[in-house]
Symmetry: C2
Subunit: 576 residues, 2 copies
Amino acid sequence: MAMGSVHRLRVAIAQINATVGDFDGNLKKIIKAIEQARSLGADLVTFPELALCGYPPEDLILKPQFVGDNRKYLERVVTASSGLSVIVGFIDAGDGPYNAAAIIHDGKLADIYHKICLPNYGVFDENRYFHPGKGCPVYVIAGVGVGVSICEDIWHEDGPVSAQAHFGAGVIVNISASPYHYGKAEYRKKTLARRARDNRVIIVYNNLVGGQDELVFDGNSLVLDEKGRLLAQGWQFAEDLVLVDLDVEPVATTGRNTTTGDQEQWPTTGVVVSESPSSKPKPTLPRRQPYGSYELAAEIYHALVLGTGDYVRKNGFGKVVVGLSGGVDSSLVATIAVDALGAENVVAVAMPSRYSSPGSLSDAGLLAQNLGISLMNIPIERVFRAYLDSLAEPFSGTESGTAEENIQARIRGNLLMALSNKFGWLVLATGNKSEMATGYTTLYGDMAGGFSVIKDVPKTMVYKLARYRNSVADTELIPPSVLAKTPSAELGPDQKDTDTLPPYELLDSVLTAYVEEDKSVEQIIRQGVAPEVVRKVARLVDASEYKRRQAPPGVKITTKAFGRDRRLPITNKFRG
Amino acid sequence: MAMGSVHRLRVAIAQINATVGDFDGNLKKIIKAIEQARSLGADLVTFPELALCGYPPEDLILKPQFVGDNRKYLERVVTASSGLSVIVGFIDAGDGPYNAAAIIHDGKLADIYHKICLPNYGVFDENRYFHPGKGCPVYVIAGVGVGVSICEDIWHEDGPVSAQAHFGAGVIVNISASPYHYGKAEYRKKTLARRARDNRVIIVYNNLVGGQDELVFDGNSLVLDEKGRLLAQGWQFAEDLVLVDLDVEPVATTGRNTTTGDQEQWPTTGVVVSESPSSKPKPTLPRRQPYGSYELAAEIYHALVLGTGDYVRKNGFGKVVVGLSGGVDSSLVATIAVDALGAENVVAVAMPSRYSSPGSLSDAGLLAQNLGISLMNIPIERVFRAYLDSLAEPFSGTESGTAEENIQARIRGNLLMALSNKFGWLVLATGNKSEMATGYTTLYGDMAGGFSVIKDVPKTMVYKLARYRNSVADTELIPPSVLAKTPSAELGPDQKDTDTLPPYELLDSVLTAYVEEDKSVEQIIRQGVAPEVVRKVARLVDASEYKRRQAPPGVKITTKAFGRDRRLPITNKFRG
């Protein structure tokens, strides 16, 4: 494989926010980025995994029309590529389908790479859709040996990247759609730095950004040199076009096997895409602000804002409506909604009952005032009384309890849905992960809504996020009284969450072990938690699966969210 | 491999109804079947795929405690196996985990077979959990060469079965957990008969029976001789112990390679489990009733009865409650519930409104009388009025429409859930597939419930099932007036379903093409359906994904049910 004499490669990383199935919208973003990259003198512009059709398209892949359309739109990317090289993710039907990257140069489709390592764990189902690729060519792009890989391919130490490096690739381009969970950005940086060092390659890591149902792709694209040092980084939770000049001299040919290679696992061949870089003079790159990492609470908060905003926008809604109880959960959700959509697009509703504390309504009012959102007040007493009257006969002789509590929650759900149906507002549900886990929540009541913003946020983290948001505001957006009050569902007289649940600090630690780490009851008891607490919590989690199955989607921020990340049967007699 | 001189093998096929995670219950069924088989002189008793832990255990497999417990319970099966051979499905942790079959003889675990072909399409996610097996031994059981395979293994013409047949297996035992959809029983029989003929083997096919969340395993175990002729068949939709004497002479050794073999794909080795059959005298087998196949409507009806009954029982409920509107959907659901659980365990509730037709209440009353179930009457007018009063201010100046309609449906949902919370009854939702597909249904209203019995039954099939059930009853259980009336949600004045939807015959044909067959809008138009109808229906299906995501589970009876069988994103701009 011939290596040219060029020692700098200008790469543009287009960290775009693609939408599943929006071929027109995605193509527009792709062409715009190509044009920008061209005007900035880039030799190569890269796009995320499946950028053309959005990720994950799920069973749309089983529709031949979808795969066919995606191929037609690829032609339009090819047409738009004059004067530079483009690497873009799409679905290659071929004898697959394959999760593919098109390698395009100057109006021609030079080659297609097929993803080799298909993730089929956690939220991923790629074995359901794709065949694994069988080879990993090294491309000569602007005279530089470039190995192309897709997402999971680079997470395996002995994956295709090492084969490509061995056979002449000095630069590895990895196009990704890597979903966010807290701490993942740091993990990616460390793993990719090790991969760069171990293989003495420059890594160009192009991640997707944006929300898609329960997933948030956090962008945070990376460029690491052959010693694992960070050269450039894309914004987290926002679109970006990262321009970087790669000094390819240290990785060009020294010590590499530059002939066409053949490994046992994946045959490596050489494909010349372009022998030399564009001879046009390159403009000087603008200096970028140095990238600062977010603290944990800030990072999670931004993930929730992006995930919520994208769900609302991409599903065609303008406004959202949220019920305010005066508690911390609904206060945080309203604040996130305002940050995601603007105060003018958030409507708040207080729905006080006979059990609401005096502070509930005033706290809701203060929050709405701080956020600059309108607040309706619809007391539920009249409707509640009508239900109790209607049910007087079947309920006669019974004690008031869960049934009467849930009626109130469901009246609120019904009122919010009525406003949604009448005015086209999306209802945001306000339950947190600790409640979703233990079933301390009412199906069709507080669980009602189109999107459940904090369903993967444990209660202890809800407080941290509220305090973080206050810390970066001019004033205390979320009133201190909201943060100070004792958590209560306020569905019965003098009710407190701790009447039913362990204190949240304890509860959340057990939930992390039982849900996210799949530890057994016995293991958690051995960690020092009281056996009756562990057994009770585990029993609540197991018994609430049927409720979670009917919950609206919400943003995944932990290593294991309820939903397709954790697929447990409802009918299940296992206790352990 | 030594073949004994025996020419008859007595096999007992234990078609049991296992429950996921119920190790104690499943073990009890397994040991009982072993004892029965022993007393009937069986040489070999077989059990379904993953019979020990239930199928599909889903992410329980990710809990080490679950897999560990399953292994401990296997030891108790081994202990119980004195005097005969046992083949039973379990999870083998090993270097897997593997979807495995234990081959047990007379108190010893002789070998473990690992499933080779892992299904990862439709409702299946086996690549998420299991490693594929690498070899397929031929076992000598009671002197006969037996190849063991698991479910999907036998569906592939060039799968392990042909390798086993080639290297000395005269009998193929396939243990399965094959979920029902209409027509599948006939398909299985044809495919297995071809497999038997092509490989000149006797096939013993042991399927699971019972409901598990959305799936019904229909039993219908089969024994086919080497010419593909049916020798015996287990009941469909019921537990069974099928005893059969196999004449193994035609398949014993003639023309086979009886040495230990080695194929390129899967190495085949010989493992001697038992050289000769039990020398004890064998009792004469009782003569079985000949098995009659169900007609389509009958088959589907029985699937719904089993799926509903098992969901209720396995989740620990005694009684169910169902709202009766006087329409065909809720009438059918109540009838299914009575057949599944007995009239004494079904409570009906009529919840008439200002828009209910005069016949609604009388038809509901007549049905309840025919079924022998109690009927409550809870009019919703008072609660409805209270909602309208409470919403008078925000709704002022708007026209009455969907919002007001849905309030009524949600009042009914709330009333049923209140009865559920108060008395511990499971709510059965009554929506059909045509409604679920088009979103002609109210989230938290008529969709509310723990189990959605007919959610996969198209409206046209609802009528067929109702007529079938009437045809086998002494009297017309479902009143003729119910079957004769024009379908209406009765949520507005003089409302008819056809105000919003195409006639159901037309609608269902479009839905079959668009949903089950993944045909494009253009393809369906080319089949001769009016373009505006196809576009409207497709648009309704696409736009209702968010509702379906919050629906309760219900029995899968078609080739593609909503749910994990059809995984579409909610956020999705594709129209095609």
